[in-house]
Amino acid sequence: MHLHLAGHLAWYDAQKRSRLIIQLAEPVGLSDLLRDLGIPIAEIAVATVNGVVVELETARVSNTDRVELFPPVGGG
């Protein structure tokens, strides 16, 4: 699975990576996966799977998916 941590979400990765490849043996709940990775769900404003916006709590992802997570955006 390709995971993109946009904006300040990459800060929560121990190596500060914005793009990760994660091997999934079977489909998992996205929110469970994020808890395992230490990415705080409260910091995610928008999540997409293969370019489609999904609900974090109900989305399931598998090994071939491209997942993108975006934090809330203030002014700039």
């Binding site: 946009a6 904006g7 300040h8 975006f70 809330p72 955006v73 002014g75």
Partner: protein, 634 residues
């Protein structure tokens, strides 16, 4: 003697070529402690009602905040205020960089300029020494040359220079000011007011230090190393240092609120060509900063490829980037960088300029203007060359550029027909690159802000939507509650009101929007403590919020006196129409519910919901009942 300030205002009359010093006392200072509060007070008290923006009598006011120049990150900003030639309302712009702190170090809290010089001049301030100098040899020249020339003729490379460019000289109604070539007080056309006064630049050298003014200099300075260490330990500041504002593009696109093709759409099909990873690869050469700021959010770019982009004028921020790419339908990052460089070179507001060009593109595609008007240019969405040509024409007021230099509101009135539906503005000021259809509180800000559409008036809804987020927890002491970004409600209006007072206080104290909560790089109690150390006051958060609210009420009073009312606090019709594409395709802001929320906001503010005039009771509460007397006898 007041602390945290020199207590000195420099008065300059360009018509009579005179200067004088004014001082203020502690009681005055505690009510109007610099920045927006001081500038709005002076504009309201002193500018005769009905003064035309380009009349020599218009005031041009620069005001530092209590903390401008304090030795810690994000305490860098000054306000520039005048009656705006773009909106005819209270006009306000702020900038960071280095000029405000230098002015503070020279011992001046503010400069108030009136009159018009007979021929171009610049102002030279070296501590107490003030001189009006000939600038005929600088008029028409580029900012880089002007800066180098002034430093050479005054013999000091450390002089900090605030200046206008060709746009301000030609009174383009959205011309701004630049300091150190890379930091822009761009909005509201204050640079055009400066140009109308034949004032090209203000050069400043100050050898004082912030500690000279502070009550407890060590107490203020203590925050410096704490924040310097925190930059990499905090997600928001880490991200700003890493990507800067260009990092916002892809998140807004995913959320369906990346302004695209003049706000018709919320997602750009070529977003991969303009997002941060492309920016880093194609444009980025370095990271820079402002005075004493460890965040380092400024991007430096240089291009020698499809376009030649100089590294003298700073790289595009998010607003400029989206404005000159997606919102003009242009998928070429280098063209957007070139457009940004041209605007910076001519010192034009990139938001208003890009929005005006997007407006003209839509007019062209609908046949409201044709090749005859554009001088043979195919002014369609996506035409990068046409976009760049328009900037040149606007800065020089040549051809159709002379019309577009008036901004979208006036241009739409001249073009007629449906053009007004394509003019994305509030009170005449063009919309920033944030679509309120996905964050309606930003729409409240666009509607009510005294200076016209602005994205830095309060919090952006998603930042405080989740009670467990860094943003919400940081801003919680302001008395907010978590509300979904698209909810239109009284509680949304209340959140807006509470945070607006805080953000307004940032504009009074000279703080950057990227420091304090809800960004939360600086916590609320840390800022209140810094203010205590600077001033010696036993100030509380509630007093800080009142300071911010007082400043907003002064600006509102100015507008009410000039005939503005609720009819001017309206969003462009397009925002009440559905987005054409993206994650929020089909979503609009329902007008009746928005109006209801606006009424709630006026009630929270203590303003009459029709006239928007602050009530006497509210003004008394804020300690400025004199404003009620002034409005009753307007």
């Amino acid at each position: 003697m007041p602390y945290g300030t020199s207590g000195k205002i420099l008065r300059v009359d360009l018509t009579h070529r005179t200067t004088r010093v004014e001082t203020f006392d502690e009681a005055f200072y505690r009510l109007y402690p610099g920045g927006k509060a001081l500038a709005a007070y002076i504009l309201l008290r002193e500018l005769p009602r009905g003064t035309e923006p380009f009349d020599p009598a218009n005031l041009l006011i620069f005001a530092n905040g209590v903390l401008t120049g304090a030795p810690f990150s994000t305490a860098t900003r000054f306000s520039a205020v005048a009656r705006s030639p773009l909106t005819y309302a209270y006009g306000e712009s702020e900038a960071a960089g280095y000029w405000g702190p230098e002015l503070k170090n020279a011992g001046w809290e503010a400069i108030v300029i009136t009159g018009r010089a007979e021929s171009p001049v610049y102002l030279w301030i070296h501590n107490d020494h003030v001189e009006i100098r000939d600038a005929r040899h600088l008029w028409g020249r580029e900012p880089y040359d002007v800066q180098e020339t002034i430093r050479a003729e005054l013999g000091d490379k450390l002089i900090r220079i605030l200046q206008i460019g060709l746009g301000g000289e030609n009174r383009v109604r959205f011309a701004g000011m630049t300091n150190e070539l890379r930091h822009f007080a761009a909005r509201a056309g204050i640079g055009a007011v400066m140009g109308s006064k034949n004032l090209r630049a203000i050069a400043v050298r100050g050898t004082g230090r912030y500690a000279d003014w502070a009550y407890d200099a060590k107490g203020v300075a203590a925050l410096g190393p704490v924040l310097a260490k925190r930059v990499k330990e905090h997600p928001q500041s880490w991200d700003l240092q890493n990507k800067g504002t260009p990092g916002l593009v892809e998140g807004l696109n995913a959320a369906g609120i990346l302004p695209t093709r003049n706000f018709r759409q919320g997602a750009f099909e070529s977003v991969d060509k303009i997002k941060w990873e492309a920016y880093e690869k194609e444009l980025l050469t370095a990271r820079r900063t402002c005075y004493a700021c460890a965040v380092r959010c400024k991007r430096e770019v240089k291009v020698e490829d499809r376009y030649q982009v100089s590294d003298a004028y700073g790289g595009p921020e998010y607003e400029s980037l989206d404005g000159f790419s997606a919102n003009c339908g242009v998928d070429d990052l280098q063209a957007a960088a070139k457009a940004n460089e041209l605007c910076n070179r001519y010192v034009l507001d990139t938001i208003s300029c890009s929005s005006t060009i997007a407006f003209a593109m839509e007019c062209f595609e609908h046949g409201l203007i044709g090749l005859k008007e554009t001088g043979g240019i195919e002014l369609r969405f996506g035409n990068a060359e046409a976009m760049l040509k328009m900037i040149e024409l606007i800065a020089r007021r040549e051809g159709i550029g002379n019309l577009l230099a008036e901004g979208v509101k006036r241009a739409a009135e001249v073009i007629g027909g449906d053009a007004r539906y394509f003019a994305m503005h509030v009170k005449g000021q063009e919309l920033p690159m944030h679509d309120p259809r996905g964050k309606v509180g930003v729409g409240l800000g666009y509607a009510v802000n005294e200076a016209g559409a602005d994205h830095l008036t309060s919090v952006h809804d998603p930042m405080i939507a989740n009670p467990d987020s860094v943003g919400f927890k940081g801003a919680a002491p302001l008395g907010i509650e978590p509300v979904p970004p698209r909810e239109l409600s009284a509680r949304k209006a209340r959140n807006y009101y509470r945070v607006e007072n805080w953000v307004s206080a940032e504009k009074v104290t000279g703080m950057c929007f990227f420091g304090p909560a809800p960004r939360s790089f600086i916590q609320i109690d840390e800022l209140v403590n810094a203010l205590r150390a600077a001033t010696g006051w036993d100030i509380t958060l509630e007093e800080v919020l009142r300071i911010g609210e007082r400043a907003t009420n002064l600006a509102r009073a100015f507008n009410v006196r000039e005939g503005f009312s609720r009819k001017d606090d309206v969003l462009p019709e397009r925002l009440h129409q559905p987005l054409e594409n993206g994650a929020l395709a089909g979503v609009a802001i329902p007008k009746a519910e928005f109006e209801e929320m606006l009424t709630h906001l006026y009630k929270f503010k203590g303003w009459d919901p029709q006239t928007t005039m602050p009530t006497r009771e509210k003004l008394r509460e804020l300690g400025i009942e004199w404003v009620a007397d002034l409005l009753e006898h307007k």
